[in-house]
């Protein structure tokens, strides 16, 4: 059915072209009520928010987002996922590109001034990922002379260099995936970021990597909402409900269960 594939590719090109031509427009296809919820997630974070090759979405954030949206009364086909890269999360909430964001979004005071947060629904911490057979890296203080990978513009690597191991050698890439490639090939020794993000990569190749398991910071992942959102209390209730009815644990186990990283206790929702 080669012809079909080519036809599909040409069709996609034509569709994209026509979309560009009419400058956005409304969502093609049918949405009967017109009542959709647009949720910002990561598209490139395996195990958390990930767009699969077939166009479907997977990950802990995705499952939590679906649970919350359904709790708010949306059907699964009324959920539209939008890619929210770190730099444009606040902008997307302010200008209405998305209705809420679950994208490894840490609750901080600076961000609270611009957007509202429900949750936290997860407490992550900075940790280190190494090859499974590595024994000499046991924590942030054991990285002197080691080659540590991190993602451009992220502070975790600087944190290690300034506060723990002054002699660490830093390599910056634009994706974690490249760090993983380099650690797998033995060119680099370790990478650092939030433990749950590391777990997502460890899950992809079970047995090849391990997480050192000595988190040395605390990141409260929250649900980002536009300032003054009326749904905040409802979402906080839904997050607490997910801790109790097992949905939270299931979302974790489905997506990160084989990473070798243990599920921590659920956090306490902060109704500020």
């Amino acid at each position: 059915m080669k012809f079909k594939k080519i036809a599909a590719a040409v069709g996609a090109l034509a569709l994209a072209g026509s979309l560009a031509a009419c400058g956005g427009g409304d969502d093609t296809g049918s949405d009967a009520g017109g009542d959709k919820i647009k949720i910002g997630i990561k598209f490139d974070q395996p195990g958390l928010g990930f767009k699969e090759a077939d166009g479907s979405y997977s990950g802990f954030d995705v499952d939590m987002a679906t649970y919350i949206a359904e709790g708010l009364g949306y059907e699964e086909d009324q959920i539209e996922f939008v890619e929210a890269v770190s730099a444009n999360r606040e902008t997307f909430l302010k200008d209405g590109t998305v209705d809420m964001i679950l994208a490894t979004y840490s609750i901080t005071d600076e961000r609270k001034a611009e957007v509202d947060f429900a949750g936290p629904y997860y407490v992550a911490g900075q940790d280190i990922l190494v090859a499974a057979d590595n024994t000499d890296i046991t924590g942030p203080k054991t990285l002197d002379g080691k080659k540590l990978c991190s993602v451009t513009g992220s502070t975790p690597a600087e944190n290690i260099k300034e506060n723990y191991s002054k002699g660490v050698q830093l390599q910056e890439f634009d994706t974690y995936s490249k760090c993983i490639t380099a650690i797998e090939g033995g060119q680099l020794d370790a990478m650092t970021t939030d433990d749950i993000i590391l777990a997502g990569y460890a899950q992809q190749d079970p047995g090849k990597f391990k997480i050192v398991g000595a988190p040395f910071s605390e990141e409260n992942y929250g649900v980002g909402l536009p300032k003054g959102s009326e749904d905040r209390d409802k979402i906080n209730d839904l997050i607490e409900q997910s801790f109790e009815d097992g949905a939270w644990e299931k979302a974790f186990n489905d997506n990160l269960g084989e990473s070798g990283y243990e599920l921590p206790e659920p956090p306490t929702v902060d109704r500020y």
Binding site: K5, A53, G55, N88, D174, T175
Partner: protein, 294 residues
């Protein structure tokens, strides 16, 4: 193969020697190819599951075609704006009024001297302080416009300067204003003569869209990251994208050759056709490191 002026047509001994050299060169090539092949093999780069995604229409729909659209839309908008920018500042720099020509010259020289990547980063970070929504697309496109537009301004200006003086004198003699002389006599001829150089610069512009990768603009190179995230095939994905780039540039190069052949045949200009004679133009295009044009 026409004989080069650098060496005599080889005699029997020379032919034999050439054969030996060829054999040695081929052996060296084969050796390098084998090393690359076996190393890639040992790290599993030839494994089928790294390559089969490229046979799936989904991969093209979700990754490569959106990347291609990203690259081509930045190219198209950037090219149109750069050509417009080039005309405005070429005419500005040729203006008889110093109040116009000096600032135009400063703008053109400034943007030619700054690395395009720094320009793009500057525009990217400048949007928020100016109260604009941060758009990486416009950072890339405006960076492309400012640099390539400045190079094109010099190309067009050199084209006008290469025209015989009699052309503008004749225009003035029949009572045309300086603007009319420029618009109706000089520019049409200069553009015709410089078309190959202009297209060569557009090939450069197409290649330069790849700088958008560094700013995380969703163009072809960025799809390598996404493909790698899905299929763990960094090297195969990069090879496929490189082939796409070479194909795109080859197409543009063919267009450039076709246009060059046409302008040569038609030859409606009063001035010298082509740009090799003019050192200014050579400098301008060499600065941009044009690719593609054979």
């Amino acid at each position: 193969m026409s004989a080069s002026v650098l060496y005599d047509a080889p005699g029997p001994r020379g032919k034999a020697l050439n054969l030996v050299y060829s054999a040695v060169a081929l052996a060296a090539l084969a050796w390098v190819a084998w090393i690359v092949y076996s190393k890639f093999d040992s790290t599993g780069q030839w494994e089928a599951d790294k390559w089969t995604p490229f046979l799936e229409s989904q991969t093209w729909e979700n990754f490569l075609i959106p990347g291609l659209i990203g690259t081509l839309s930045a190219f198209a908008v950037g090219a149109v704006l750069a050509v417009a920018f080039g005309f405005v500042f070429a005419v500005g720099r040729l203006s008889q009024s110093r109040f116009i020509s000096v600032p135009s010259a400063v703008v053109v020289e400034f943007f030619r001297a700054i690395p395009m990547l720094l320009l793009m980063m500057f525009i990217y970070f400048m949007q928020q302080p100016l109260g604009l929504d941060t758009s990486v697309f416009w950072a890339v496109v405006l960076g492309l416009m400012l640099y390539n537009g400045s190079v094109l301004a010099e190309v067009i200006r050199a084209g006008v300067n290469a025209l015989p003086k009699g052309q503008s004198e004749a225009g003035v003699a029949i009572g045309l204003s300086p603007g009319q002389v420029m618009r109706t006599i000089l520019l049409p001829q200069a553009v015709r003569a410089m078309l190959p150089a202009i297209i060569a610069q557009l090939v450069v512009l197409l290649k330069d869209t790849a700088l958008g990768y560094i700013l995380a603009y969703s163009e072809l190179l960025n799809q390598i990251n996404k493909l790698d995230g899905n299929f763990d095939n960094l090297i195969p994905a990069a090879l496929v994208v490189a082939l796409i780039y070479i194909a795109l540039n080859t197409i543009l190069g063919l267009v450039a050759n076709f246009v060059e052949a046409r302008t040569r045949r038609v030859g409606h200009t009063a001035g010298p056709v082509g740009h090799a004679e003019d050192p200014n133009v050579q400098t301008a295009t060499a600065a941009g490191m044009p690719g593609g044009n054979a």
